[in-house]
Point group: none
Chain length 244, copies 2
């Protein structure tokens, strides 16, 4: 496996079935992706999963988080997986073959989080709002929804296959999810203070702002620049005095 | 799915675990490979598997055979799958990427059987003797053995995947230079009003803001969204009253 696969994290959001957690871990071990993060798992399932065939070391090192935001904070690219193609998706949706290429490229310069949603319903709109874009496996229309463990296996396989085509190139260091989230929060506050956000619409606007800021795919340098601007605008909006 | 996928049969040899049979069937259904043949299954497992999510119609049509010979009798190509790379293999062993290409080609002219062995030990030497060649998934040396349902999913995915789709799909319409310039101007004004821009530094800041906004590569829709936000923030910065 290429060295920079160490920068790839699989993030399972609210998994419920120990067999699925175990299967996901086994596929990760098969394909050499060893960093598992779990958000808000059903605890019993998470403990039971620890015996998955050959994946015990990986599961023992798995990290648990309370929120998606915390789980992806150090990642420069956050990709969600979805079966749904009809939901009103606000994100760019990429087929696995193409998405995997982008992920491999990004792994040359930063951490990438690959998110998988809970078994029945997938990633929620709130989970999705942390993602830069979404990826789907090309299943057939009559039966799009894959089993969680199988979806993880297929996605990781696509990342591992065809490595010769993944040529490293110098890219701008990407902003971390933490930086991007700070921009989202700042922008949202500016919008609230200035009356753009009606109190009743706070939640959808929050999601729209999050998605917008992630679509910008800021470099680390630009993120810093934007944050500086936002801080100053906020200071003024809150009634700050003109500097002299 | 391509029409000639109807000529592809997945053959499970002596499967023991109903969850694995169900998972294999579900992956087949996901990828549009609908012909399942089962050789000498553990009967209880086979019956229990019939409820696999979304795969019930496929399982109901599955055919049962007493021997591998009977199960593959009408096929012009028989391919075995194996995790083992060290066994004294008498067969050509092909990596999945290449093997899948050969299978797709063969499907133009005849039926192909893809064999998966029993969970613990894989295909026996006797099973292998019915195969033209063997195929393996590129797992890492320290953990080669895949779960049955996941192995089926990955093999079928490789057959279905489409190289041409590894290129960008339809992209969002890009914002016009006019829209981008309006955002730059609005942002600059917000920065001036809020005191971010020192009078002496207006020119360099103006250029930095322009470059920043252009680097965002906004879509037309996002440009509109950002402009709306900026207008509201500016209105407030200029001393506008809170809307009621």
């Amino acid at each position: 496996m290429p060295a920079n696969f160490d920068r790839l994290c699989v993030v399972l959001v609210s998994p419920r079935n120990p067999l699925n957690i175990g299967a996901a871990a086994r596929a990760m071990s098969n394909f050499g992706v060893l960093r598992l993060r779990v958000v808000n798992p059903y605890e019993v399932a998470f403990r039971e999963a620890r015996s998955a065939m050959g994946a015990a070391p990986l599961l023992a090192k798995a990290k648990e988080f309370k929120s998606v935001a915390e789980a992806v904070a150090d990642c420069t690219l956050v990709v969600g997986t979805t079966a749904v193609q009809h939901r009103e998706l606000q994100h760019p949706l990429r087929r696995l073959e193409y998405g995997a290429r982008l992920i491999r490229k990004q792994l040359n310069s930063g951490r990438v989080a690959l998110l998988f949603g809970t078994e029945k319903t997938g990633l929620s709109n709130d989970d999705l709002s942390h993602c830069h874009w979404l990826m789907h496996v090309p299943t057939r229309e009559q039966h799009v929804s894959m089993n969680l463990g199988q979806a993880v296996a297929v996605c990781l396989y696509e990342l591992v296959r065809d490595l010769r085509k993944a040529t490293p190139e110098k890219v701008q260091k990407r902003a971390t999810a933490g930086e991007v989230e700070r921009i989202s929060s700042g922008l949202l506050e500016a919008l609230q203070v200035s009356g753009y956000v009606k109190p009743i619409a706070v939640v959808p606007t929050e999601e729209r702002v999050r998605r917008l800021v992630r679509r910008l795919e800021l470099s680390s340098r630009d993120a810093e620049l934007v944050l500086g601007m936002l801080r100053q605008i906020l200071w003024k909006l809150r009634g700050g005095m003109q500097k002299t």
